[in-house]
Symmetry: C2
Subunit: 351 residues, 2 copies
């Protein structure tokens, strides 16, 4: 089969790999029908994270179950399934608490399972899925989604689940005022998640006309282009002299965290899902003095998918709009370039 392999910074190749097979009784093999490139895939692409040896890449996909191990009971050949961005067991204390990203048997696409067996990357034609019953979510009643539905289903793998996680961590709810820092696919999904959870006022911080347009479509009531202190002042002005009840940090830099933290009102909540590349910490004394709470992290997509899926299937949310470019898998290298150069918000790959 064909699969996307990263060899080093800027070096993405689509190569031949063995077609996966069931290795464990709990495995499924899924034929990928849509995958995509994530903002976090750009770190190894940009050399921010080292690539020690060539490896399969990609962690978001949907597809059709092609074969299953004998212990798989909840899935059947022919099912359309959504894969969250990590493998989880569904049985350990963390999974039972809904924190599937801290699963005792956690494994990642393109990595190895807890038996040491390699797992395919998502940007390929097929993937061996360990712990398939617990990891995958079946899409009921649909096997051949149209392009729009396919795109929305694919966002549940990561970006829509992550935007939802940010909104929950920021305690978004009916009547709350919300600021979203970051206008990438996750930030835009954060806007959509905030609207879905009943936020009254949603301010998207964005300087790009195309992203502003999707933000408005997703429910942003206001756009702020200013950054730093000017951005905070603008938020305060829009909200009648106070800061936001809830702020979603969807970037991960020290600057964006600063922007987000200073946009929260006393007693408000900051939800952060941008991987904190800047390191560092949240100043305790500032949190103490302002009564601001901070939460977030990697989204337990597996936990959220059933709830979000229902809204995708009934058409009440259409997160697939974040994909502005569709390319064949063979063009994966160009997909990375387009995202790296910000010519694309998010690229969907069709194997």
């Amino acid at each position: 089969m064909r699969a996307t392999i990263i060899h080093g910074p800027g070096d993405i190749r689509v190569e031949d790999r063995d077609y996966p097979t069931v290795q464990q009784p709990t495995d499924a093999v899924v034929k990928v029908t849509a995958a995509c490139v994530c903002g976090s895939d750009l770190w190894p692409y940009r050399g921010v994270r080292p690539t020690h040896e060539p490896r399969a890449i990609g962690h978001e996909f949907i597809g059709i179950v092609e074969s299953i191990g004998e212990a798989v009971t909840g899935l059947a050949v022919g099912d359309l399934v959504i894969a969250p961005f990590v493998v989880s067991c569904g049985e350990c204390p963390q999974c039972r608490n809904g924190v599937t990203v801290a699963c005792d048997r956690l494994a990642g696409w393109g990595g190895k399972d807890d038996a040491g067996l390699p797992i395919d990357g998502a940007q390929g034609q097929a993937v061996r899925v360990p712990l398939a019953d617990a990891t995958l979510v079946k899409v009921p009643g649909v096997t051949e989604p149209d392009d729009a539905l396919r795109a929305s289903l694919l966002t549940l793998s990561d970006v829509m689940a992550t935007g939802h996680h940010a909104a929950l961590a920021a305690k978004v709810g009916p009547g709350r005022s919300v600021v979203v820092v970051g206008d990438g696919a996750v930030g835009l999904c954060g806007v959509l998640a905030a609207r879905r959870l009943g936020a009254e006022r949603i301010i998207a911080m964005s300087r790009h006309a195309d992203r502003q347009s999707i933000a408005r479509e997703f429910g942003a009531t206001d756009i702020v282009e200013e950054r730093g202190e000017d951005g905070v002042a603008k938020v305060r002005e829009l909200l009648g002299g106070v800061l936001a009840d809830s702020v979603l940090e969807c970037v991960g830099t020290a600057e964006s965290m600063e922007q987000a933290l200073h946009s929260v009102r006393p007693g408000g909540a900051l939800g952060f899902v941008g991987v904190p590349t800047g390191g560092g910490g949240v100043p305790l004394r500032y949190l103490f003095d302002t009564n601001i709470s901070v939460g977030g992290g990697m989204a337990p997509a597996r936990t959220y998918i059933p709830e979000l899926l229902a809204d995708v299937l009934d058409g009440s949310i259409n997160p697939g709009r974040v994909f502005d470019v569709v390319m064949p898998l063979e063009d994966a290298a160009e997909a990375y370039r387009a995202m790296d150069e910000r010519r694309a918000i998010k690229v969907l790959l069709t194997p």
Copy 2:
């Protein structure tokens, strides 16, 4: 009148001061019937916080309204009232959000109001209370509480409200497992607050038999004496291999914050109310990797008092048990010594 004045580290004196009078239409003058010494009063006492000039000290009291300004409508002479540990207006956006400790007109006992007029300290015979309608809470139907009730009412000024704040920030609720770091009056009230909110398992970290005893009386199901990694291991063992859903940090040192943070399970919540004397920050990457949320700060006691007061009055909670020593106001210097030397958990002063 007699009032407690701090002159410098270790130098507490009870001195004569002018009896307060109504200065503003929104003032009340309250005759103090019970005050107390707070753990945070020990910072200037120990010289951790500088004392630039002699000043009235104390920020927790209950008492009887003696006179009111013409604009005061919700209180009458003779009412028994509880004073939260700060003055707040009840009308600004922060007060409307329930975050009275971030009030636009915030003022502290022993400090000055927003008109620049001095405010008496709580450890004295009487106090001028600015913004009396918004600041004070009337105790309905009681003017002469017995000793036990008096003590419990007094805790609503600060320590019980603060323990409740920690529990809310740590998302305590029915069925949750809880660890409380700190066995001072606030930590003990945190145990009581956790039980009141329905926690199933409450682990108090304490090495002092007297405090352990109150913790058990307040609802602690387990006591852990170990600290550091041993303490974390013990918590994990008690909870069947996982860490706590909710952890209350009620001390404020770098060590206690570390202890607290590492006692939280993935996806759990840390509520911190110990003033962070150690400075520093919460490591973002750790929060991201564990999905632990952090919140807390100064408790908006004014917001919580009505709810907690109802439970004190009907006898369902008895937080006044944290007072293990009662002394006359004249012995304030000895009260500070007893708390400083940890001979007392918390000293109640009777003017």
